[in-house]
């Protein structure tokens, strides 16, 4: 089995790419995708450690993370659609007001 350090490094790199995406990109949809990237990096760490410990808890938590991510993306995309309908933009710098 591949060493744990390799899996954790991979997870750390993907997480950092997600963080960079949220900071760098100004398109709300792409920022949202970067958040999904971060969630998946954490899932990878859970699975890697869980399989080394021989415990199923990591996999159960990944299951819950997936469910919460599904709920989060449904609500988040709903917010993006309703924002776009009112403001005609998905550019984060142009969305400066909390009301419209």
């Amino acid at each position: 089995m591949i060493p744990l350090t390799y899996m954790m490094s991979l997870s750390a790199i993907i997480f950092a790419i997600g963080v960079a995406g949220v900071i760098i990109r100004r398109n709300i949809l792409v920022m949202f995708m970067s958040i999904e990237l971060m969630l998946n990096a954490v899932n990878l760490a859970f699975i890697a450690i869980g399989s080394r410990l021989g415990s199923m808890d990591g996999q159960v938590i990944v299951f819950f993370v997936m469910t919460v991510a599904a709920a989060e993306s449904a609500v988040g995309l709903g917010i993006i659609i309703s924002t776009f309908r009112n403001r005609e933009t998905v550019h984060a710098d142009e969305l400066t007001l909390m009301r419209w």
Partner: protein, 180 residues
């Protein structure tokens, strides 16, 4: 899985994750993200988390990404023209990400992260063991999650709903409030 396959899949995951944040076209970002998710799903299966790996493919790469695709179509997003964001922001973001990776390397290096290696029990990662854990130790969390999904369904319908346009003017203030 043989080690070289892990190296290959890891490189593929990193490259396609970078693709998510450097592509100009949101559709291309989305395709890169799907590629990342599929690669991570294969890594899950390689780590003996077979059920979760397939769930990742079905739920993430299937359902959630289709949702993203529909939203991109619905909003009719085009390729971003011109420079995206500020240069200082990009430099700051890249620097911050590099620092974060360094910090995580130090945190996750073996002296700090001591995992007592245990042999996996028989049936590890199977549907039966996952379901057994889910419906005994995590039963309350499971039920709360179903409530969360219900709330998300109601909430997203309420958010994405088109507000009814009022044509008569018995109450002009209400009309103004909705229109503004």
């Amino acid at each position: 899985m043989p080690p070289f396959l892990y190296i290959f899949l890891g490189a593929l995951a990193i490259v396609s994750a970078l693709g998510v944040i450097v592509q100009r076209n949101p559709i291309h970002s989305l395709l890169s993200l799907i590629s990342t998710l599929l690669t991570i799903a294969i890594l899950f299966i390689g780590e003996n988390a077979v059920v979760v790996g397939f769930l990742q493919i079905i739920v993430y790469a299937g359902a959630i990404m289709i949702l993203f695709l529909f939203v991109i179509w619905l909003l009719n997003l085009q390729v971003e023209s011109g420079p995206t964001g500020h240069l200082a922001l990009k430099a700051f973001g890249s620097l911050g990400a590099a620092l974060l990776v360094t910090e995580l390397f130090f945190l996750l290096a073996p002296p700090h992260l001591q995992v007592k290696f245990t042999q996996e029990p028989a049936g590890y990662g199977s549907l039966a063991s996952l379901a057994g854990k889910l419906f005994t130790d995590y039963l309350v969390a499971f039920e709360v999650t179903s409530l969360l999904l219900l709330a998300a369904v109601v909430g997203s319908i309420a958010l994405a709903r088109r507000l009814p346009v009022v044509v008569e003017e018995p109450q002009p203030r209400v009309v103004e409030k909705i229109a503004s």
